[in-house]
Amino acid sequence: MHHLRKIWAIMAKDLAVELRTREVLGAMFVFALLVIFIFNFAFELRVEDQRTLAPGVLWVAITFAGMLGLSRSFIREKDRGSLEGLLLAPVDRGVIFLGKMLGNALFIAVIALIILPAFVILFNLSAAVMPQLAMIAVLGTIGLSGVGTLFSAMAVHTRAREILLPVLLFPLIVPVILSAVKLSAAVIDNVPFAEVQQWLSLLVVFDIVFAVLSFLFFDYVVEE
């Protein structure tokens, strides 16, 4: 309970800052929507069945928009000096990690859920797929934000921090994107769950393993 309160405090603080500035969520939303629009228009010209590409487009939009949020997560703390305030507190570094990670996951999940209706409309999908896509989005978001939060904290100490984050992160999150795309495709094509169960397992295992590893390594990353 003691740790949970602090995790909640850090997450709520990030949310309060965001509600006041609307710096990150707005940019993430517009960017994700633009990606979906651009791909939709681009594929309309040559591709016969856009539905085959739809899962990939959705996850490109979520990943790229998520990258915007993740990169700002620690840059904001570092530039304002508040990162030292956090590290100075008698709080386990893992607690700080979890607070930041859950904040990031919340932002990415909110964007994913907001763009889903636009995605469904633009790619002529049935609205019935939305709840399942939303569940996959939440699972994928946890994987993205787990590793992403760790690498965001790592990149923030470097000069080319905004460039470095995607370079470090993209290769690592391939399993998340791959399994999320496979699962989304299965939902859109109405494939029986048993056929894609291994992708769901991969996604869940990735979420757990990388969240735990990131939790353990966070202390070393923020140490001077």
Partner: protein, 233 residues
């Protein structure tokens, strides 16, 4: 209260602190002056557990910094030239957030008490970004005192303040029950060092070059000593 023995800090091959030994008694106010690059901020960062020493031993209230950083963090309050505040949040929101991290009992009451003490009650709901530099620094002091730490570390708290704001800060530092706290402050300003501290130490090139009690010196003598030790040969 603060016991530093043979403290060394190196960044790669560059030695920043070269074997500092310093003892600060409980309740004592010690100021540390020195030119840029002398190692003042590095020393404060190590004491604040934000940086690890390369060698040597540092004890705060008998606790080893390396062995028990969590206990040490509860014992210190840090005010640096950066406020460590969230400027998009209000003064009160900042204090309430940090109060949760420090497990402060009755956080609302404590925040109000401190905001009144630093003269910011009335502006508590305004975003910190609308505060003047002096007001932000007063809020930073409130943040540092939130959990009532026995040790206060001040890293150039007067940076960016005009004379009037610095004088207000000095008065505030003297009024906030500092008699009961141990204070280690770094500054470039000899006048403040002599006026606020009970003991002044001169840090040059990562070493304590000279230290004296305020009662045994005056500002002119201190300036002469500083020029002697800190001026390049």
């Amino acid at each position: 209260m603060i016991e530093i023995k043979g403290l060394i800090k190196a960044f790669g091959s560059r030695l920043v602190l070269r074997g500092i030994t310093l003892h600060v008694d409980a309740g004592e106010f010690v100021t540390l002056v020195g030119p840029n690059g002398a190692g003042k901020t590095t020393l404060i960062r190590i004491l604040a557990t934000l940086s690890r020493p390369s060698a040597g031993r540092v004890l705060l209230g008998g606790c080893d910094l390396n062995e028990d950083p969590m206990v040490v963090r509860r014992m210190i309050g840090l005010v640096s030239h950066r406020t460590l505040l969230y400027d998009d949040l209000s003064g009160e929101q900042n204090l309430l957030f940090y109060a949760q991290l420090y497990d402060v009992a009755r956080p609302k009451t404590r925040a109000e008490e401190l905001l009144r003490q630093v003269g910011l009650w009335g502006r508590q709901h305004d975003p910190v970004s609308t505060y003047s530099r002096g007001m932000q620094q007063r809020l930073a002091i409130a943040r540092a005192l939130l959990h009532n730490p026995p040790v206060l570390l001040l890293d150039e708290p007067d940076t960016g303040l005009d004379r009037q704001a610095a004088a207000t800060l000095g008065a505030l530092l003297r009024q906030t029950d500092l008699g009961q706290r141990t204070v280690l402050m770094t500054t470039h300003n000899l006048e403040y060092a002599a006026a606020w501290g009970e003991r002044v130490a001169i840090l040059v090139n990562g070493q304590i070059a000279f230290q004296t009690n305020r009662s045994e010196t005056d500002l002119t003598t201190l300036r002469a000593q500083y020029d002697h030790y800190a001026s390049p040969a």
